[in-house]
């Protein structure tokens, strides 16, 4: 066994587990296959791989150092690369608590015997700037935003080197759910979900561990983000409180929203993807359909401690997923002007969505069945999609992001269940192969799928570990 140890297939799925030498400490191989249960992606990766800046001398080129063993002395570097520690790091100052020095405390600074982690970016949101031929993608795994040349692609199994990577503690980014851009102002906008609760704005040329131009505090559980270039406003979807908050595009600090869409009439249910359509002055929202046990109150009510408007307890329920559409100036508890919902829609865990305002179509990243569903922009009710991209040839796996590039007649898809972004022809349909593939890891690299995991359980019957996202 070398320092990188042996590899063998587990679980009959051709996936690899790898046990690595932790700087000379004793190494345990796993006694039997283990399962990591994920709410978003049922993938397995057992191993430790290190990230560090690409040693090319250029600050514009950053990519993972693939499959290098990690030593205990380098574990600090893993934290640093996870965006937790500044670089260069000053000598750590030991935190002291009263009586700890005198107490007999077992354990201490013990290295793990095994680690499961994904060293590569996990793609979440995608946005295209067809004016400047750039593509930006958010990465909640490494707390980063990566930009690529719009025309770049992997010719084989190799990853594409990003043009820039915004990441590190100074960026303030944590669980980066969404990214969008303002090509005219050359600004990148990101929003954090679940931890962070901030919207960050960076200049286009931001790269590395840099401060944003401005920061806006947003409600807890923000997910989607969209700019209306006509109104100069930003719309943000918020999951648990089931609300859409609209800010001035220039908002910063603790600025209040201009208006909110919230309340039982809105039909909002765990909203995710959002598109603020400047041409038609509409806000289009993808809803998972979850309703927690407390009814939301109208948007004029100040949210409670968990960002939740304090309404009556009515009991939770699982509504059907939907796409709801609101007038751009909607404020408060107002019903949508259109609602796509029902069995014919095939909506299942709809994540991001994008609107093609020239051809009047809505594309939905339908994570539940790994498809992209295209609807007429004006359709309503229980309506079937006009096209579906789905199948083995498409390479679509748990899509989180989707974006039209109307200028180039293309459609971008960001896979959360694979280390790829896919580019299709705008009118692609069925089991169509993508025109281009942008890999951020060598082909075949599995994704762990951890996204701000908060709990773990041990299955003693199967000797497995269960991790919900």
């Amino acid at each position: 066994m070398t320092s990188t140890s042996a590899e063998r297939s587990i679980g009959g799925k051709g996936q690899t587990k790898r046990a690595l030498d932790l700087g000379g400490t004793r190494l345990n191989t796993l006694p039997m296959p283990r399962r990591v249960l994920l709410s978003l992606a049922g993938c397995i990766l057992l191993g430790v791989v290190e990230w560090r800046p690409f040693l090319g001398g250029s600050s514009r080129a950053r990519q993972p150092l693939v499959r290098s063993p990690i030593t205990s002395s380098r574990l600090l570097a893993l934290e640093r690369e996870n965006g937790c520690l500044d670089s260069p790091t000053l000598a750590p100052v030991a935190q002291a608590w009263p009586d700890w020095a005198a107490a007999h405390i077992a354990g201490g600074d013990v290295p793990p015997t095994r680690v499961v982690a994904d060293p590569y970016p996990t793609l979440h949101s995608v946005t295209v700037d067809s004016v400047n031929d750039l593509v930006f993608m958010s990465d909640p795994n490494r707390h980063a935003v990566w930009s690529y040349d719009r025309r770049a692609s992997s010719q084989g199994p190799e990853p594409v080197t990003p043009l820039t990577g915004i990441r590190g503690p100074s960026t303030g980014m944590m669980f980066v759910a969404a990214v969008t851009v303002d090509p005219a102002a050359r600004e990148v906008y990101t929003v954090d979900n679940d931890i962070g609760d901030r919207m960050m704005v960076f200049p286009y040329d931001a790269d590395g561990n840099v401060k944003p131009k401005r920061v806006l505090n947003v409600p807890h559980q923000a997910w989607g983000l969209s700019i209306n270039w006509v109104r100069k406003e930003i719309a943000i979807s918020v999951e648990g409180p089931r609300q859409i908050v609209v800010y001035a595009q220039s908002a910063s600090g603790s600025d209040s929203p201009l208006r909110m869409i919230r309340g039982p009439r809105t039909g909002l249910g765990d909203p995710h993807g959002i598109f603020f359509d400047g041409k038609n002055n509409e806000i289009v929202v993808a809803n998972h359909g979850n309703q927690n046990g407390r009814q939301t109150l109208p948007g004029s009510v100040t949210p409670g401690r968990r960002g939740e408007a304090v309404g009556p307890i009515v009991g939770g329920r699982f509504d059907d997923p939907s796409v709801t559409v609101y007038d751009g100036e909607t404020n408060g508890d107002v019903a949508p002007v259109r609602r796509i919902q029902g069995a014919k829609t095939g909506l299942n865990w709809p994540m991001a969505l994008s609107v093609d305002i020239e051809h009047d179509e809505i594309a939905v990243a339908n994570s539940g069945d790994s498809s992209i569903r295209m609807f007429s922009r004006t359709s309503t009710g229980d309506t079937a999609p006009v096209r579906i991209i789905k199948g083995a040839r498409t390479g679509i796996r748990g899509p989180m992001g989707v974006a039209f590039d109307v200028k180039n007649d293309e459609l971008w898809v960001a896979n959360y269940g694979d280390h790829t972004a896919l580019v299709f022809g705008r009118t692609a349909s069925g089991d169509a192969a993508p025109k281009r593939i942008v890999r951020n890891a060598p082909a075949g690299s599995p994704t762990v799928g951890f996204g701000n995991p908060g709990a773990i359980a041990y299955d003693s019957k199967r000797d497995e570990l269960l991790v919900p996202n």
Binding site: A103, G107, T113, N292, G293, E308, G451, G454, S460, L465
Partner: protein
Amino acid sequence: MHGIFYNPRDDEIVVPVALGGAVLTLPGGANGGDPPVRVLQGPKTGLVQPDTLYVDVAHDEMVVDSGDDSVLVFQRKASGDTAPIRKIGGPTTQIRNIYGLSVDSVHNLIVVANRVDLGGRESSDGILIFNRTDSGDVAPRAVIAGPRTGIIKIRQVVVDEERGQIFATIKNNFENYDFEQERPSPWNPDRTGFIGVWSIHDNGDVPPRGVIKGPASSLVWPAGVAINPRNREVYAIDSVSNALFMFTMPELFKKPASATGDFNR
């Protein structure tokens, strides 16, 4: 989802669904889109936004965070719109924001990871211990909290019933971001999180009896903890590293010395 439980006796996985105000029970071997065998949801349940839960297999009960500052106890097989059989909540309980729950069925205890944010970088988080059959607005039998505990931003807790030890994940940090600083950071690198171990007999402002903490541990913001007493292993999931760590820690699976603090009942 911020909670999960595996029930080895009945081979079931139980999860809270905060965004749907529900508790789902799935087969132990569930995979992909397998449906739940039971769904607990509705106005009678009192479930608002449940974040965490625990199944007391020995007593066939399910202990669930209501998402509304109370602990709800249901029959294990409760489904549909069913009311809890007991509820612990109210000002005397000190329960504010539950991030972890565990049951010690041997010593008949419910252990609550309780968050009380005081604003900024201040909190009075702690571990509340109740009698298993407590109900109503009752005082906890013990509270482990205070500066000596190091408990700041507590998350999941689990009890090693045989040895009467509580394992807790402590994030020890706040995701504040002071934009005005030259090099701001949402994390304080000198205040990484840890796993702390206390006795079920501890009470008051007492240091942990065991920890996994420090740069070699790789723990940044440990959010979840599970234990395998048979292998003397501790498992931690980290919400910033997005990584799962396994530690071999025989020293944390020894019976603790006598209780510390003011054990009041």
